[in-house]
Symmetry: C2
Subunit: 289 residues, 2 copies
Amino acid sequence: MTEKLIVFYNGKFMQEKNVQISPNDRGFVFGDGVYEVFRSYNGKLFYADEHIKRLQYSLSQLRIEINQMDQIIPVVHQLLEKNDLRKKEATIYVQITRGVYKRMHAFPDEKVDPTIFIRAREFTPNPYSFFKKGVKAITLEDFRWSRCDIKSVALLSNILSAQQAADCDAYESIFIRNGLLLEGSHTNVFAVMNGQLYTHPESNYILSGISREIVIHLCKKYNLSVIEEAIHEKQIPQVEELFLAGTSTEIMPVVYLNNADIGTGNVGPLTRRIQDYYRNFIEEYLERI
Amino acid sequence: MTEKLIVFYNGKFMQEKNVQISPNDRGFVFGDGVYEVFRSYNGKLFYADEHIKRLQYSLSQLRIEINQMDQIIPVVHQLLEKNDLRKKEATIYVQITRGVYKRMHAFPDEKVDPTIFIRAREFTPNPYSFFKKGVKAITLEDFRWSRCDIKSVALLSNILSAQQAADCDAYESIFIRNGLLLEGSHTNVFAVMNGQLYTHPESNYILSGISREIVIHLCKKYNLSVIEEAIHEKQIPQVEELFLAGTSTEIMPVVYLNNADIGTGNVGPLTRRIQDYYRNFIEEYLERI
């Protein structure tokens, strides 16, 4: 926790160390809240509207109403300014909870102001070697809830899965439910089989990833077909390429899954192309805005 | 939030309004923590050892280590004293999170002190009429994670289910998975069929309820057989009696489920007996300690 970091908390800019979350905040007591992570490049926000839209979706699913939605982007820009991040890469973390109320499971029986917390921090990307050489992942039986389409802060299952990956020196855990590959603990998953790109369709079992959408968009743009169908764990030996997509992760090749190479064990040609397309897409997007 | 409530937070007694939970507390950010709710009667704790044991189990499942476990009960007694609760009924809420660290999904990569928060509050029991006449419940397809044996604060699915019950003017939501009745959003469930008492066996799909254990103990003591087997939703029309068990809920008859009476629609004789046994058991326990 950087001592002098300026954050936004319930309408005010303040030093992070002065933020006082109540022990009755339903975020702390129940995980009753949602979040988003935005990225910025030299003060420009990447795909901000899509993140705001997803935030609105998550809030609506929990029936949390906030009036200040249109203030979030201006606040983010002020945070970048105040924290000297306008000439750097940054991630912006937005957390909104149902607010502070005496502990009861059902929603508060009177009107409560949601808690809004926003922090911008300099972004340290994954090492270049990860993108170039690929990483290791493991598969796990999905033990999460079945509303993974909501980007909630009740992330304990993701935490335990991320730690299980860390215990195995792996970058990510990929969830399997009823034999089908779903997504990673903090990424979406794409696989190449017979030269075709596959990814799990949108559903309540995966988060509708923004990077996932961009990859699908890029495939269409460059006439690469992408099939929104889950692949079965039995098909893993036939997978030629595997990669993860996420806002912080970008396009991350997986070359080793559980105890075996994926394909040749090297980053495949389709993954390379999508890495390039994705990088170029970000650059073009940032030039455009 | 009573202004003058004295709580225990990370080694100190203080007014609740002065507690400053960090926005980097992994309880707030991820729901990465556990809790327990104890009850006290005139300053005497009911079944405290069992709650401590379950707290230890939950912590161990998340690999959260605390050194101060043996301080919790003495702290609870001091809180009862400081808040003038020694001559009243109270509930004591204990929450332990993994602590404060910069946001990363895997466990912190250095040693972090867990956050310990304890609050005692006067207990307002459910209305007498609920116990006497019974309540309404609804069933819901279980959408929670599959580690319900951990009493974690990542309770969002329970929150949404409790709200769904509230929307239907019901006391509780009862989860069904693969057709089988599991437990309620904050209670365990018992059903009587053909004069026999049934409850879901211990598993990762239910919390190992302390009141559940007491009911089973009382059945053995009074020569009532209790079968630890789940009942199927198709069997609901044959259920003669249904009740919930929980630390705050005690023994709560359910006389109306979804849109139909359970049995005659009145509290059944076995439920009455168990209510009486349970009440007597608490009294005898409190006299003994």
